[in-house]
């Protein structure tokens, strides 16, 4: 980025630093995981694994629908998904570039939505909808409604959603155990979803989330002071302070030098809007995000930290450079009036193809055809300028 923009104009806030999942020059895996009811899987004799293909997720959902191990009757939702995460699960897990452009093996730029992998994902999406595996009105669900059906209401067999390390305690303990009274470690399995080719599919998440930008008119003294704050927060002590609070009040070192929490998370979370320190994790001074410290945070159960690390690590192993590619900075930074016009709302449009009825392949072909007057000029530009 520095080379491309000819200077450092912003400071990216790193997701991972001390706990890098992949090599620094390799792509960063995303947080999305499949939460599934381990107890129900055992009841229907479905294997508990850390990775499943999309078709296996559908198979699991069908088995649960048939057997209803939770005795929920017509309240049971085999796969709880709002449209956005449904598209990620069925299409995104199978088609790396389903919502953008990419450089194909033949060296030309193509539109991922028009790829056969996208169609294959859409077919599975349609199968899940038509088989009644999704909520009959899943398209009315808002973000997080689907997660609640799984971890708060306990009426869903599985849910594909955000699962960063820092969020797992909330899902497992606060929501699931708190609302359903079940042991989450016995009742939940978290897994990575793979494409039908058996590989993990994802575009590079890029190892930063948000940036810090200073005004060019900032006073020298203030800038120096901010640099000191950022330097401290990037250090070991600063990272602990920004993520755990005050030493000897919220945490301490034990005789062996390990961090021990003094804070009772069960009464009130330490950070977040309802927490003891509402701005924790979001303040300007945080240059290394809590994704990194979550692996070392003693407030998070060791089992969850190990599980999360295992999932991230596996994603980097069960992939190829094509299914989990590095970011293409030329494409990432490409801009033109034509390019700006083709930023579609893929979640809505792909979901509509599934719910409109009829043959999904024909729906998809018609949709592709309707978009080509907008897409073709962009492909022409990309192939002319970046090749």
């Amino acid at each position: 980025m520095e080379k491309r923009f000819d200077g450092t104009y912003f400071l990216p806030r790193a997701r991972f630093y001390k706990n890098l999942i992949n090599d620094p020059d390799e792509p960063v895996p995303n947080h999305f995981s499949l939460y599934m009811r381990k107890d129900w899987a055992e009841a229907v004799d479905f294997p508990i694994k850390s990775t499943y293909k999309i078709s296996e997720v559908i198979e699991f959902a069908k088995k649960v629908k048939e057997s209803d191990p939770g005795n929920l009757g017509d309240k049971l939702i085999p796969i709880a998904q709002a449209p956005s995460n449904a598209v990620r699960l069925f299409v995104g897990s199978n088609s790396t570039y389903y919502n953008g452009f990419y450089k194909d093996e033949d060296g030309t730029y193509k539109w991922g939505a028009a790829s056969e992998e996208t169609l294959e994902g859409l077919k599975m999406y349609a199968e899940a909808y038509q088989s009644g595996l999704l909520d009959p009105e899943f398209y009315t669900l808002q973000q997080n409604d689907d997660t609640r059906q799984f971890d708060t209401q306990g009426i869903a067999a599985c849910n594909f959603g955000e699962a960063p390390t820092a969020a797992l305690p909330r899902v497992f303990e606060t929501n699931f155990q708190g609302n359903l009274g079940l042991d989450p470690y016995e009742s939940i399995n978290v897994a990575t979803v793979l494409g039908e080719d058996g590989y993990y599919h994802q575009q590079d998440l890029i190892n930063y989330w948000g940036t810090i930008i200073f005004s060019p008119n900032i006073e020298e003294e203030k800038f120096e002071r901010w640099m000191d704050v950022l330097e401290f927060n990037a250090s070991e002590d600063g990272s602990i302070f920004a993520s755990l609070g005050l030493k000897d009040v919220d945490w301490k070192y034990d005789s062996e030098g390990n961090i021990v929490s003094l804070y009772d998370n069960s009464q009130q979370p330490l950070g977040g809007p309802d927490g003891k320190y509402p701005s924790m994790g979001y303040t300007l001074g945080v240059i290394i995000l809590h994704d990194d410290f979550a692996f070392d945070n003693p407030n998070n159960d060791q089992r969850l930290r190990d599980l999360s690390r295992q999932l991230y690590t596996e994603r980097c192993q069960i992939c190829t450079p094509e299914t989990f590619p590095k970011v293409d900075w030329d494409l990432f930074c490409f801009d033109s009036p034509n390019m700006r016009k083709v930023q579609f709302d893929y979640d809505t449009e792909l979901t509509n193809l599934v719910t409109m009825g009829g043959d999904i392949e024909q729906n998809w072909r018609d949709w592709i055809e309707s978009k080509m007057p907008m897409i073709q000029p962009v492909l022409d530009e990309l192939n002319a300028n970046l090749n």
């Binding site: 017509d74 449209p83 009959p136 009105e137 398209y139 009315t140 009036p337 034509n338 700006r340 016009k341 930023q343 579609f344 709302d345 979640d347 809505t348 449009e349 979901t351 509509n352 719910t355 409109m356 309707s370 007057p373 907008m374 000029p377």
Partner: protein, 309 residues
Amino acid sequence: MARSLERIKIFFKDLWKWRSNCIMILPGVIWYIVFAYIPIYGLTLAFKSYRANLGIFRSPWVGLENYVYVFRDPAFLESIWRTLFINFGRILFQFPYPIILALLLNELRINRFKKAIQTVLTFPHFLSWVIVASIMINVLGSRGLVNSIIKILGGESINFLGSEKLFVPLLYITENWKSGGWTMIIYLAAIAGIDTEQYESAEIDGATRLQTMWHITLPGIKNTIVVLFILAVGNIMVQGFDQVFNLSNPATARVAEILDMYIYRITFKTAADFSFSTAVSLFRSVINFILLLSADRITKWLGSEGLFS
């Protein structure tokens, strides 16, 4: 010069004479200047390539380039067709509803009952579309009230919320439920202004209530109907965004993409291109203006008074 000064003097004299009225209309005038006239300059963005760092004034002119992109997108033309289809349907199915309500309510003779009915019909107007959409999900959802009754009666559940075929009728029904009672008040006010002697004469002449309604009440509110009709036609391209936005979902997205939804999508749901959005908005305003003038001319041609001279 002396004549001009005389005119200015008369103007300020009139202004002072009518000062109470002027003070009353002042907030409205200020509102129009601030929110309707000053922002008109922003429409120049339709012919510019907007750059945030340059602002509206210094962004470069690109002529009609934005319209080349607008007409290249099939979704744009589709959204115009959908807007016209849905909103001409509103004229057919929504516009007469408050007139009918007012005529019927006017025939009620028990005053307390009449007031109660009026309150019940008017109340939904004060609910926002966000609330109405939530009510619809609870009433029309697969586990909602209507489907529960259908199932109890042995029927099959109906997919009200995700059906493309039912979406447009649902718009008309909910809009009539929500706003019919409120618009009815305007017609009731017009009915109240009809000379009661006409009704007394009709009664003496032995006219039935239906004949009275048809020959006295309806002609008595004709001018109000015409004015509201012209305004309704003039709003055809901008009507119903709140409603469509809240009642639609990904399953109905295709049939719900009216022009305002299209503008919303290209402005806020994808990478924002304000020049492109403004170009579409300007196009919409031009169509609206043409429709407004056409409605005015047609009503005049049919023998009624229009809005414009």
